[in-house]
């Protein structure tokens, strides 16, 4: 397996480059020229965000039944959809037309519902004709490959977690803050499962969870967002990072609040950090590997599903709208009689955004960036 091992300060060029105060502006400028002025931020939401809980289809008669006892407080957006109050801080963006959602969308990934495979496909941006593990490039990297003169400082993967969406032959940079992230509630639940039959580990763990990790608020994301904003204010045009904690199998009402808080905080902090002028040229796409089951499971949560939701924010977004054809929640309308039926390919929306931001034509998008995609002329998410 071709894996790059990097003991910090040695292997990973991006680490030292980021820390180096004498970065030449020459290379940085290349990126600016090649991609123009528009900025794209991709946030990979790892763990499968429950689109039905974040953008609640309150206008669908089946919703209240399917989600009895699970529906979080939400505020109406457009008479049909309501926004989870965990994102209520984004209302001003909605009012200003800088926040949009796409509902009932998904990658081409179906049926196995594995996080890893699902994320691999989301970040590879390909179809299912190749095994997910066989895709080594991410779609953002292929975007850079087709931009003549895209400099190596054009795109940044930010944070400790690897970002396959940016991986590939085109040079990109990466940077991670010198801090650890807290154990997510989902990871803690899995650990409890693993320790369950071993009294020594089980007993030690119950006290250990209080000791592990740092602060419980969403502030651990701040250095990542601040770094991305700083780069994008300069000559970088693309940044990608990820956020975990969405795998809400149990006690979802509470469990989803922390990742929502972190997502909201990231978007608002990006807006502030970029300043009005750059924010006006920015699109933030928050995408997840798949959605979750329509019906609640037996432990107040939801399991892995298919159709989900994507969030788009930024001054360049044509917002104030929930996009996508709504498939309905009647049993016959569901995928596999359990999941929200996807009515669009999430890559289609991303491709429209790339076309609008960077002037890429359809042949390049369908042939190279998202090979095998057939763009269905989805309405553009951007102004």
């Amino acid at each position: 397996m071709d894996r790059r091992v990097f003991l910090k300060g040695l292997g990973l060029a991006g680490c030292s480059a980021a820390a180096h105060p004498l970065l030449t502006t020459l290379t940085l400028a290349e990126g600016g020229l090649a991609l123009g002025d528009n900025r794209l931020v991709v946030i990979i939401l790892r763990g499968a965000m429950d689109g039905l809980d974040v953008i609640q289809p309150r206008g669908d008669a089946g919703f209240a039944t399917a989600r009895a006892g699970l529906t979080s407080p939400a505020t109406d957006l457009d008479g049909f959809f309501a926004l989870n109050d965990g994102l209520s801080g984004l209302s001003p963006l909605w009012q200003a037309g800088q926040l949009a959602f796409v509902h009932a969308t998904s990658t081409p990934y179906r049926d196995k519902r594995s996080h890893f495979d699902g994320q691999d496909l989301l970040e590879a941006g390909t179809g299912t004709d190749l095994a997910p593990m066989a895709q080594r490039d991410g779609w953002l990297n292929r975007l850079l490959q087709v931009i003549p003169g895209a400099g190596s400082e054009t795109a940044w993967a930010v944070g400790r977690e690897a970002m396959p969406v940016l991986a590939g032959p085109a040079r990109t940079q990466s940077w991670a803050p010198d801090q650890d992230l807290r154990l997510t509630q989902a990871a803690q639940a899995l650990l409890e499962h693993v320790y369950h039959d071993d009294p020594l580990f089980r007993d030690a763990a119950s006290a250990a969870f209080d000791l592990a990790g740092g602060a419980a608020d969403g502030k651990d994301i701040d250095p990542i967002v601040d770094f991305a904003a700083e780069r994008l204010r300069g000559t970088a045009r693309i940044a990608a990072f990820s956020q975990s904690g969405w795998d809400t199998h149990k006690g979802q009402g509470g469990a989803i609040q922390r990742p929502l808080e972190r997502l909201q905080r990231s978007i608002l902090r990006l807006q502030t950090g970029l300043g009005p002028e750059v924010w006006g040229k920015t699109v933030v796409l928050a995408m997840t590997e798949f959605g979750r089951t329509v019906r609640a499971n037996g432990s107040g949560g939801t399991d892995h599903g298919t159709g989900g939701a994507m969030l788009a924010a930024g001054g360049a977004v044509r917002g104030g709208k929930v996009f996508g054809d709504w498939p309905g929640l009647a049993e016959a309308d569901l995928y596999d009689r359990r999941d929200l039926m996807p009515t669009s390919d999430v890559r289609d929306w991303a491709a429209q955004v790339l076309a609008g931001l960077y002037g890429l034509d359809r042949a390049v998008l369908e042939g190279t960036v998202f090979p095998g995609l057939r763009m269905e002329a989805s309405p553009s998410l951007i102004r």
Binding site: L7, L10, F116, D180, L181, A205, S244
Partner: protein, 442 residues
Amino acid sequence: MTLDTEAAAIRWGFGLPAGRTPDDMLARLAGPDRAAEMWPGGTLSRLGPVRAAYQAARKAKDAAAQKAAQRQADQLALQGVQAAFARAVGSDDPLRERLVTFWADHFTTSRRNRVEAALPGILIDEAIRPHVAGRFSDMLRAVITHPGMLIYLNQEASFGPESRKGHRRDKGLNENLARELLELHTLGVGALYSQTDVRELAELLTGLAVDPGEGFVFDAARAEPGPETVLGVTYAGKGMQPVLQALADLAARPETAAHIARKLVVHFVADNPDPGLVASVTARWLDTGGDLLAVVRALVLHPHAMLPGVGKARQPYDFIVAAFRALEVTPANVLAADAKTIKRLVLDPLAAMGQPLYRAPGPDGWPETAADWITPAGLAARIDWAMNAPQRLVRPLPDPRAFLAKALGRRAGDRLAWAVGAAESARDGVGLVLSSPEFNQR
């Protein structure tokens, strides 16, 4: 890989992926110590001048020279740590590496100050490693006459009350080394020795001293004159001869065989070991006069040595080494890492897990039972490391399902396999494997 080779790699080595048969491991142990050649550590001959320069600079109040010497000393210490991890991670002779950690713990030393931080590792390299497949009596002699031990157990401060230097400087005995030599290194605390034996042995050892430049010396001017009687045997004569005879006699005592054979079994096999297994290893020790290769062979090949379900916890050092191996961190990576990286990914986490490197709380070394290690604070530190360190070591992270197979083979339980498949990110999946009871036990 068969179940047997997997289990052997975990019980006698630092875990998977390389499974080995017990016979193969023993054959390598009987061969040359290639890891020590490939990844050399610090040596006393290099530390000596640095330490002398440091002390001279301190006396002369030359802050710049003192700082320069300290930097050299830090570099030696770092090289020692890197060598230890490079060998443990990279060696194809893992039983030898595990035996080195066992004996390093049996003959625990701890650093006295920063300028001597490399000394415990140097003692391991110079006095322990060469003998793990040799004779116990040789190891004992090498350790007891090594400056690392003489400094740690205050032998260098012990003077025969009736010796010339004792008279002149009005100094006397320090019993520390003599007591631990009987209580910890040879007979064991339960053996029948008396305070008089301790005192007589302390007097016998009074010539053992450390010269800042030369290392170990026998200093006749501080040796207590006259014969000493230890455990009923009288040692007379001058110089090192009676000391070496006493060490050889202690090494040959049956109490020593029983004490250390049991420790070996407890360390490698079970906190509450099978008495038949202990008896068998002890008998082999006595039959061969402490031939450690034969002793280890008797342990490894004993039919009860591989009984499952004994619940030994991997100590933090083993845990990090085994994780490095599973993550395919190479010796070259370890050697290329700078001091800050080693501190952050290895030394600070070891301390947080309860096992700061070369800093055991006392000369009796680290505790053995799983309950000593799997504590709330210790487990929290393991989980923290498992969830965060791999991303700093390897990019991209392996697929957690493949990583589970590589790290644990068929040892992975159903609960773990399910959880790893259900993890929401590669970070969590890899972290779950490394946090699991399966990975934290051997």
